[in-house]
C-alpha cells in the first residue's frame, strides 16, 4: 500500500512491506527497516534504519502529529490516487482559517481585480480579509454572513478565464 507523506514543503512517496525479519518502509531514498513499539499513553519507541528515538504520536484522519526530539511535526498522509484526482485550486478563494463569515463583499458576476476584498472572516476574535488571488469574474459565492466554515473551505469561485 502506497502513501504520500507531506512533511512541511516536501513530499515523500512511501510503501510498507513485511519480510521475514519484520517491516520495511520503501522510500525514495531506499528501504528502511523500521519498527514502532508502544510504550503507553501515546508514547512510542520508533526506529528507522540505524536510528531510534522515543516519540509522542497522535493521529486524526490523515494527519499524524509527532513530537520528536523536542519538536512538533505534522505529517499529512495522502492516497496517491486522491492526489492525482485533486485539481489545482486556481480560480477560488479559500478560508485561511476555520471561523465565522462576517461579511461578503462581492456578488456572482462581479468583476474583481487581484487583491480586492472578497470576504471578511473572524476566528477567535481575529478579523481577516480574504482578497482576490487574481483578476476575474466571480462565478459563485458559497458563503453568507454568519456561516461557520472549516479551514480551506471554498468561499468564492471564479469563472474560468476565457
Amino acid at each position: 500500500m502506497k502513501k504520500i507523506f507531506r512533511l512541511g514543503e516536501s513530499e515523500h512517496r512511501c510503501s510498507l512491506r513485511q519480510d521475514a525479519d519484520g517491516l520495511v518502509l520503501d522510500t525514495e531514498d531506499g528501504p528502511l527497516r523500521c519498527a514502532l513499539q508502544p510504550l503507553g499513553a501515546a508514547r512510542y519507541c520508533v526506529s528507522a534504519g540505524e536510528e531510534q528515538a522515543e516519540a509522542l504520536i497522535a493521529r486524526h484522519d490523515d494527519r499524524i502529529w509527532i513530537r520528536l526530539r523536542g519538536r512538533t511535526h505534522v505529517i499529512e498522509a495522502v492516497d496517491p490516487l486522491d492526489a492525482a484526482a485533486a485539481g489545482g485550486h486556481d480560480g477560488a478563494a479559500e478560508a485561511p482559517m476555520p471561523g465565522t463569515v462576517i461579511s461578503v463583499l462581492v456578488e456572482p458576476g462581479a468583476e474583481v481585480t487581484a487583491g480586492q476584498d472578497l470576504v471578511v472572516m473572524e476566528s477567535m476574535k481575529l478579523e481577516v480579509t480574504i482578497r482576490a488571488p487574481h483578476d476575474g469574474r466571480i462565478a459563485a459565492v458559497h458563503c453568507a454572513p454568519g456561516d461557520q466554515v472549516p479551514l480551506k473551505f471554498t468561499l468564492v469561485t471564479f469563472e474560468a478565464a476565457p
Binding site: 500500500m1 510498507l16 512491506r17 513485511q18 536510528e51 519538536r71 512538533t72 505529517i75 473572524e122
Partner: protein
Amino acid sequence: MTGAPIRRLLVANRGEIAARILRTAKAQGIECAIVRHAAEDGGLAPQLADAVVPIEGATPVAAYLDVAQIVQAARRWGADAVHPGYGFLSESPALARALDEAGIRFVGPPPAVTELMGDKVSARRFVAEHGFPVAPSAIEADDPGSFTQRALAVGLPILIKPAAGGGGKGMRIVRSAEVLDAELAAARREGERYFGDGRLFVERYVERPRHIEVQVLGDQHGSVVHFGERECSVQRRFQKIIEETPSPALDAGTRARICEVAVGIARAAGYVGAGTVELILGADGEFYFLEMNTRLQVEHPVTECVTGFDLVAEQLRVAAGEPLGYSQADIGFQGHAIELRLCAEDPAQGFMPATGSLQVLREPAGPGVRVDSGVVEGQRVGSDFDSLLAKLIFHGRSRGQALARARQALADTACLGVATNLDYLDRILAHAQFAAGDYSTAFLDEQAAELGDAGETHSTALLLAAAALSDGHMVAAAADMPRLYAQMGAWRN
C-alpha cells in the same frame, strides 16, 4: 468598614483564568460556581467548580457578555460575589452596577473608575491633567470632521486605537497617508464589533518601543501599592505572548519612577482592587501612559512568582472590604519570572487561530515551573473563543535560571492534535536577542525570518516510519501482502 467575607463566588469567565481563580477561591473555603455556554466543550474550569450555571447566547461569546444573564446566574445560584476574570465583562461598569443593585459584590474596582479608564480618551485626558506623561495624539470625538487631518498632523507613523478598546483589538500602525482612510474604516469596524463603539483616536507611534506595565492594588480605605513592573514587549498582532519581570530594560532609577507614576495614577483615580498601568518606554528612556486595565491581567502570575503574593486572594480580600494590611516596604521581590502563552495558533500561517482536538497534552513540571492551564487532554479546541490554551510560568533566582528552566520545560511539553505556538516559543527563547534581554515590541516582526520554522529536520526517516507504522491500513496491508510479491518491492508493479 469591613464587609462580610465572601462565601459563594460565581466566576463569570472560562478557560485558564477561570481555573486559576477557582483554585485560590476554593483554597480559602469559598464555594464556587462557574457560568458555561454549551459551546465550551470540556475544559478544566468546570471540573474544578462546585457548580456550573448554564448561560446562552446568539454566539458563545455573546453569552459571556450578557450582563443581565450573568446577574441572573449569580442570583439564581445565591452568589454573594462575582469574579469577572479578564476580558468579557471584567471592565464593564454595567456589570458592576447591576450586581451592586442586586446586592452582590463585584470583584473589581468601582464602576466610576472602570468607566474613567475604560474610555481610552478620557483616561488619557485624566492622566495628562494630573501631570503624568502621555504621547501626542488626536481624538476623533473632539471634531470628527477634521479627524483625518489632525491624525496626520500628529506626525507619521501613527497608531490608530478604538476609544473603547483594549487587548490590541482594532489597533493599526499607519506609516503612509494613502492607507489612512482604509485603516481607519477597518479599525472602526473592529471597534464596533468588539466594544460596541466605533470611535477612534490616534497616537504618535513610538518606534521600537518597549511595553512596560505596573501591577497596582488598592483597598477600599485609600491604600495603594505596586507590585513592580512586567515587561511585555514580545507581541504579535499587538498581543503579548511572553512576559517577564523584572524588565531587562529598566535601571533602578527608571523602575522607581515608572512604579511611582503608576501608583500616582491609581491613587488619583481612587483605584480599588487589582489593576495594571500600561506604559510605553522609548529607546531614549522616556515613557508614556498607554492605558490602565482595571482587572486582573493575563500575565499576573510572573508578579506572583517574584513577590510571593496571590493576587486573586488579594482581590477577594479587597472585595470583602479588608484593608491591605501591609505597606509598599513590605512587598519584596525575589528572582526572575517568565511567562509563555501557549496558544492554538499557527505561527507559520501568520498566527492564524487553529482548531482541532487536544489528542495529546503533556504539561511541564519541576522546580520553578507553574502551569496555569484551562484545557485537558482530549478536549476539542473550537473557534468560538480566544486561542490561549495555557500559560507556562518559570521562576528562577536569576533571569538565566528562569530561562534555562523554561527551555528544559518546553522540551518536556507536548500538544498534539491542534497547531500551537509551542515550537515557536522555544525559538524565541533560543534567540540571542531575547536571551540578552534586548528586544522591543517590533522584535517578532524584525526577526520573523530567523524565528520562522526552517522546516529542516534531521529526523525524516524516523518521522516517515512513525507515520507509516501508526497507519493501521498500511500495516495491515503489509502484513497481508503475499511474501513473494512483497519481496519484489512495492514500487515495481
